[in-house]
């Protein structure tokens, strides 16, 4: 099979304007992936499927990744003017100080497609797409029209991560019920506080059970239970 660099080059020739970025996998599997821009995603997908050399006719898996907002602390050297009294005379002196700056790297939601070729017996080619952010710009083009197998898995990602797939024929929740509001696979998902009965709790669950008991009142005497 072609290497990721060759596939990237092939995509850029076939679909002018398409943004393709190679994401390296440093692990021993060295399964590098291609991050594509969402503007030309459908054209890129169609090319990957139709190209006689690649012939990626089988979509094996679609999954999601949540990248939460990240606070990065950096040490920066700053030069600034400081007024100092040297030998009884006030002078403007330049001083270099090390400063810690914090910046917020905005998070995003990512969708990952694993493609194989049944005809050529090769694969996988890993495609990734990112949303602009995690709150309001969560739209991505659906690849269901290229690979029909994506239909249910895109619904699952819509359900659990909240990515909205444009052009999906039937975008509804698939695992949770329709009235459900959260996206449970997101990193900031808060699960319902139902830790009222944890007979063998430890670690994280024990802390949550304690928090529940504190919130419910110092002495929670259940109906029919002994205080």
């Amino acid at each position: 099979m072609k290497t990721v660099e060759e596939i990237k080059a092939a995509i850029e020739t076939a679909v002018p304007g398409a943004q393709v970025e190679i994401v390296r996998n440093p692990g021993p599997s060295a399964q590098h992936s291609l991050r594509i821009g969402h503007e030309f995603a459908v054209q890129v997908a169609t090319f990957l499927q139709d190209d006689p050399e690649l012939a990626l006719d089988f979509l094996s898996n679609v999954t999601g990744v949540d990248w939460p907002d990240k606070e990065i602390a950096e040490k920066v050297k700053v030069t600034r003017q400081v007024t100092k009294t040297i030998d009884g005379v006030e002078q403007a002196v330049e001083e270099t100080v090390e400063e810690t700056r914090k910046r917020l790297e905005p998070g995003c939601l990512e969708v990952v497609y694993h493609l194989y070729s049944m005809a050529k017996k090769h694969g996988p080619v890993v495609l990734r797409m990112r949303t602009a952010n995690r709150s309001d710009k969560v739209n991505l083009p659906s690849l269901t029209r290229v690979w029909r197998a994506a239909e249910f898995q895109e619904r699952e990602i819509f359900d659990l991560y909240g990515i909205v797939f444009e052009g999906h024929p039937d975008l509804r929740r698939i695992l949770m019920w329709d009235g459900f509001k959260d996206h449970p696979m997101r990193r900031d998902y808060v699960d319902p506080d139902d830790y009222e009965y944890e007979p063998t709790a430890h670690d994280e669950v024990l802390a949550k059970a304690h928090a529940h008991q504190t919130a419910a009142g110092a002495v929670a005497v259940p109906e029919g239970g002994k205080p």
């Binding site: 695992l175 949770m176 019920w177 009235g179 459900f180 699960d191 319902p192 929670a220 259940p222 002994k226």
Partner: protein, 205 residues
Amino acid sequence: MAVDEGLKIELGKQGVFVTSLQELYNWGRRSSVWPMQFGLACCAIEMIATTMARYDMARFGAEIFRPSPRQADMMIISGTVTKKMAPQVVRLYNQMAEPKYVIAMGACAISGGPFKQGYNVLKGIDRYIPVDVHIPGCPPRPEALLQALITLQKKIDGQPLTGEGRPRFLDAEAQGEFPVPEQGEHDLEPPSNPAVWPVPLTINK
């Protein structure tokens, strides 16, 4: 009213069969506990195995799995009850005719099992409907399900027809229908039925 055991055996030797109405009635009830035909997860495979020739649940009169709740006497909660499925399970239980019994089969049905801390699994079906027999195991072997059935039969046998401890269907006051939980925005509402499941007291140190 119980008949003296020694007298009963003595009379039996003389060719006289003595019993009480309660004994006869409960013998009939416990010998034909028809389960409802539905499985929720992998425990259902063990339940199916229990009905097959090797374990043969028919020996205990519980082989006729009914596809309709109207004709079933017992519900075997065989597997994981997800929060999406829980209202349907309670609704099916409500549709069963009295007398009705429940066996919660396996770790998931009794407590949520390995999925207990998950966002989509109910922490035990006994939060919404009364369970008569709990079987631990993941999944329980067919012998365990047979043991549960025998336990249930003993329970039926021991139920008096009048007075304290009589089964629900002989008590005009008793509630036979249980509220079906709603699927809310974040969780099932209510998260449990306190009339069925008062929160047990736990001491977490």
